[in-house]
């Protein structure tokens, strides 16, 4: 039965391409307007395929998917009229001006010219591109193009905004501008659904997220819940002389950490108190070249759940 209250509801949702299963029977549900919901996972985890199914441009291979109470296969146009989409790669028309891009896109939604003109002014203001309105898109920077794509996705005042890797390829400054704008949208009640392989992005933006790996959902919760559930308050990162790395890896287990991860270049000790753990390591007669005590992040959660790192 379809729940009309849910914004998006997926049950055993599956997407296959030939023999390859990109999305392998995932369940999730969004019910709260203004929530920011994220899919966190490495490249190839099935995030983009999921987003395309939600965007009604990719028919599910199996399972159930309901968006705004409607079926994406039969009601695609009606659903898309209420969605905004920021794709992973910008699909702006580079040969047209900033303004013309919004005009064309607004026309796709059947909006009258005066409505588009009014919204264009406001949206360009919102993404801080008012002074470039009449310029061609081609020479704009990556960050500006992404902001323009966001403005374009808002031309129909969507109820749900889908963002696939919204800041991939942007420099740190440009990423912060995008995050700031997305944060404001959320405050204004727009529901955000985003994918990312950046744990800092997920922590910054998402109220709730699912960790995806190899087409499946490995865990679900708020960033804080996930860290509490799957990691320790602190992490001690140790770096040894490469010659001693292996030997040290064998010994640190006795330092009393809840869990130890041995990476190619570092050893991570998952502990309650990092400084105490460091003292314990030294007590074992080990002297790391460098050591760092930090708080747990979603990267640690991912490592714990999948045994692999996010951004490889």
């Amino acid at each position: 039965m379809r729940d009309p209250g849910a914004l998006i509801r997926a049950r055993k949702l599956t997407k296959s391409f030939g023999n390859f299963t990109a999305v392998d029977g995932i369940d999730f549900e969004l019910t709260r307007r203004g929530e920011a919901f994220g899919f966190l996972g490495p490249n190839g985890a099935g995030k983009s395929s999921t987003m395309r199914m939600i965007g009604c441009v990719s028919p599910p291979s199996g399972g159930e998917l309901t968006i705004l109470g409607l079926d994406p296969v039969t009601d695609g146009p009606r659903i898309r009229a209420r969605l905004g989409v920021v794709p992973q790669e910008d699909t702006l028309d580079l040969e047209l001006t900033v303004q013309e891009n919004l005009l064309i896109y607004g026309r796709y939604f059947g909006l009258p010219r005066d409505v588009i003109r009014e919204r264009t002014a406001r949206l360009l203001d919102f993404v801080q591109l008012s002074d470039r309105a009449g310029d061609e898109v081609e020479p704009l920077s990556g960050g500006m193009k992404r902001r323009l794509t966001i403005a374009r996705s808002l031309i129909n005042e969507p109820e749900i905004l889908l963002l696939d890797e919204p800041t991939t390829g942007l420099d740190p400054q440009a990423r912060h501008v995008v995050w700031d704008r997305l944060f404001r949208l959320k405050q204004q009640g727009v529901t955000l659904v985003l994918t990312t392989h950046y744990m800092d992005e997920a922590e910054q933006l998402c109220d709730r997220l699912v960790v995806m790996d190899r087409g499946k959902i490995a865990a679900e919760g708020s960033p804080r819940q996930l860290i509490e559930q799957y990691s320790t308050p602190e992490v001690l990162e140790l770096r040894f002389d490469p010659a001693d790395h292996e030997q040290a890896a064998g010994k640190v287990g006795d330092a009393g950490a809840q869990r130890t991860e041995v990476l190619a270049d570092r050893i991570l000790l998952y502990v309650r108190n990092g400084d105490e753990a460091l003292a314990a390591v030294r007590g074992l007669g080990l002297e790391p070249q460098t050591s760092l005590v930090r708080r747990s992040t979603l990267e640690d959660v991912f490592l714990r759940l999948t045994g692999r790192r996010l951004e490889d």
Binding site: R52, R80, R107, R122, L185
Partner: protein, 296 residues
């Protein structure tokens, strides 16, 4: 609005940079209904306007060549070569001057060339390089609306080029009958008989090299051997059925009968039906290929 610093989520008030508006909830709901539930014609027109906006940037050059090409062809081959041909006697051409024989053939060929130009690179480019189709399917438009919108635009381009061609024809005195007004829709239809199937094929490609084969082994032989420059009866006997089967020959025969005012009714209806059938087959195939390419 104040230009906020790049990281200033908390430093400025929430009043600056508002993305959502005062459009009331009821107004928005009505707007979304209109956006998502429009009929196929309105959906196609939304995409058609996109092509118009694009065309605004390049129309001058294309308008110039749509007049220049017929002047060059009709002047050099129609008049120049035609003088020699006419001296030889024109019984094989149906007793008309070579110019009057050639011009309607080139009119139909203009339809074909315009159609192939519009339905190859612009179509593949929209999905592969410019990504405009990729963006458009995230709106309420469906793949078939994109196909319809582009075919509408192609029809407009066909009409423009064929009108220009017929104006030049008239100036050269190559229009012999008032029935020639029907040669315009005939030439446009000839174009659509090419545009729809080629567009259906073009959207399915992953690279553009097959276009070169289309031009080399499709467009050029058809242009030369479909009765455009000389009657098909001059071809070797074995080649004649091949020429009669090609869509351009039907277009040429139809346009020629209309501008000369020598119209065999049944045959002309047959040509028309053939061209319409080809265009509809392309449309049907395009519904499938557009969907397959854009809904992955």
């Amino acid at each position: 609005m104040a230009v906020t610093s790049s990281t200033g989520t908390s430093s400025t008030g929430t009043t600056s940079g508002t993305a959502t508006t005062g459009t009331g909830t009821a107004g928005l709901a009505a707007e979304r209904d209109r956006a998502g539930q429009a009929g196929p014609w309105e959906m196609a027109l939304r995409q058609f306007r996109h092509w118009l906006v694009n065309y605004r940037r390049t129309w001058r050059g294309s308008a110039y060549s749509s007049f220049l090409n017929p002047v060059l062809y009709l002047g050099s081959i129609g008049l120049g070569l035609g003088t020699l041909v006419n001296k030889h006697g024109t019984a094989q051409l149906g007793g008309v001057s070579y110019l009057a024989f050639l011009a309607p053939g080139l009119l139909a060929a203009t339809g074909m060339q315009t159609a192939i130009g519009e339905s190859t690179y612009p179509v593949l480019g929209s999905v592969k390089w410019r990504h405009t189709y990729v963006a458009a399917v995230s709106s309420p438009l469906r793949p078939r609306d994109l196909l319809h919108g582009h075919l509408l635009f192609t029809t407009l381009r066909l009409a423009m080029n064929c009108v220009a061609f017929m104006v030049v024809m008239a100036v050269f005195g190559a229009i012999k009958s008032p029935w020639a007004v029907l040669a315009l829709p005939a030439a446009v239809l000839t174009g659509l008989a090419f545009a729809a199937p080629i567009e259906a094929w073009a959207i399915s490609l992953t690279k553009d090299s097959p276009f070169a084969y289309l031009f080399r082994f499709g467009l050029i032989p058809l242009f030369l051997f479909s009765g455009t420059f000389f009657p098909v009866s001059q071809l070797p006997v074995w080649a004649q059925p091949v020429a009669y089967a090609t869509p351009l020959w039907h277009g040429v025969a139809l346009c020629r009968s209309l501008t000369l005012g020598q119209i065999p009714v049944l045959e002309s209806l047959g040509h028309t039906a053939y061209l319409i059938a080809l265009a509809l087959a392309g449309l049907y195939a395009g519904h499938r290929t557009y969907r397959r390419r854009l809904y992955v």
